[in-house]
Point group: C2
Chain length 211, copies 2
């Protein structure tokens, strides 16, 4: 039976949320459309009233999950912009690693995205750029302008790797899983410091004392 426009819009969001979480948790190939629809409180047929194919659902669900994560970060930023070091502490935390189904889809599905179509690849690239921009802003006044983007790009790539590795080895060797996060964080932090030391660069912002 037909439902109201508002209800239909709600159902669409419910489908995206369910798809997004399930894909992160069990992989894109590991979840069927029927399960996504059921988790959203619908039958599989209804899904095709909202998305033309599973591929289309994957692309939109990836973007939905990414935006939800970024919104949280932006909400934090409205209160106070976190420093680069604070971003790193969050990126490489055990909490981030253990938040699989609600965490960043880039990290949860990194190696699977390479096998998806152009639409998903483009969404991934956009998402990557957005996170890089956020990190670049946190480096203003800390690192010379010419180095900021390079450090931000490397930080995001390293984070995606460290979280994926930490999740992969966690079942077999939790100590190693934690070491990977901490070692990568420290190393990126050190790379940031080497770009900072020995020059004056930013207009006026002070370099905050970091451990």
């Amino acid at each position: 039976m037909r439902v109201s426009k508002e209800k239909a819009a709600e159902n669409r969001v419910a489908l995206l949320r369910a798809a997004s979480q399930l894909f992160r948790l069990r992989g894109i190939d590991g979840v069927g459309v029927a399960e996504v629809a059921k988790a959203a409180g619908l039958t599989h047929g209804a899904l095709y009233a909202h998305f033309p194919s599973k591929d289309a659902l994957v692309a939109e669900a990836f973007w939905y999950g990414f935006e939800k994560n970024l919104e949280e970060d932006r909400a934090v930023e409205r209160v106070r912009r976190p420093s680069f070091e604070e971003h790193l502490a969050s990126f490489f935390s055990i909490e981030t690693r253990d938040r699989l189904e609600t965490g960043c889809p880039m990290t949860a599905s990194a190696s699977e995205i390479a096998r998806q179509g152009n639409a998903v690849s483009a969404r991934f690239a956009d998402a990557f750029e957005e996170i890089v921009t956020m990190l670049e802003e946190s480096l203003e006044g800390v690192v010379p302008e010419t180095k900021r983007r390079r450090l931000a790009v490397a930080s995001v790539a390293a984070q995606i790797g460290a979280i994926a590795v930490s999740r992969a080895v966690a079942k077999a060797d939790n100590a190693l899983a934690e070491e990977v996060l901490e070692s990568t964080r420290k190393t990126i932090s050190a790379a940031c410091k080497v770009e900072t030391s020995g020059r004056r660069h930013a207009p006026s912002a002070p370099t905050p004392g970091s451990s």
Copy 2:
């Protein structure tokens, strides 16, 4: 019909090679046992004479692919041990990124491994440690002993992330894909240098001049 012991052993290796390459290329959930068997020149039934389940095949195929890659590196090392910078140049190269089905299974399947069982997780942890040890050796005489492992762990984690990201965005934005590799390599290299500068550490080895 029964085959000779030698032929059976060859078939087992053919199954592992086919499984290993197909899983890297199209994902663990994206390849069925029948396709693996066919690629090895057998029928699916034969696969179960060698492996009790697909799960067992996955774990063994992962290790097979990893060992094949490590053997190549060891062959190179027998001629001349590459420097840390040379390892980085290889880790973050476009050639490495484009070698999906014969490249390191850790990189090809990073985010999928987290969803596999304990056996695969343990194999991943072992593989990670082996690569870290290789990198640590290349840092002897370059970086103080206490920092070597930290840098090696971070380098491998960062490489896995950078390659995964580069593959994910390549279809949509190849310039970004190349930037990710280069930026991450430079940043890890900088982190290595900051640990080197301003101290004497290694017994007697000279620090090679690197660009």
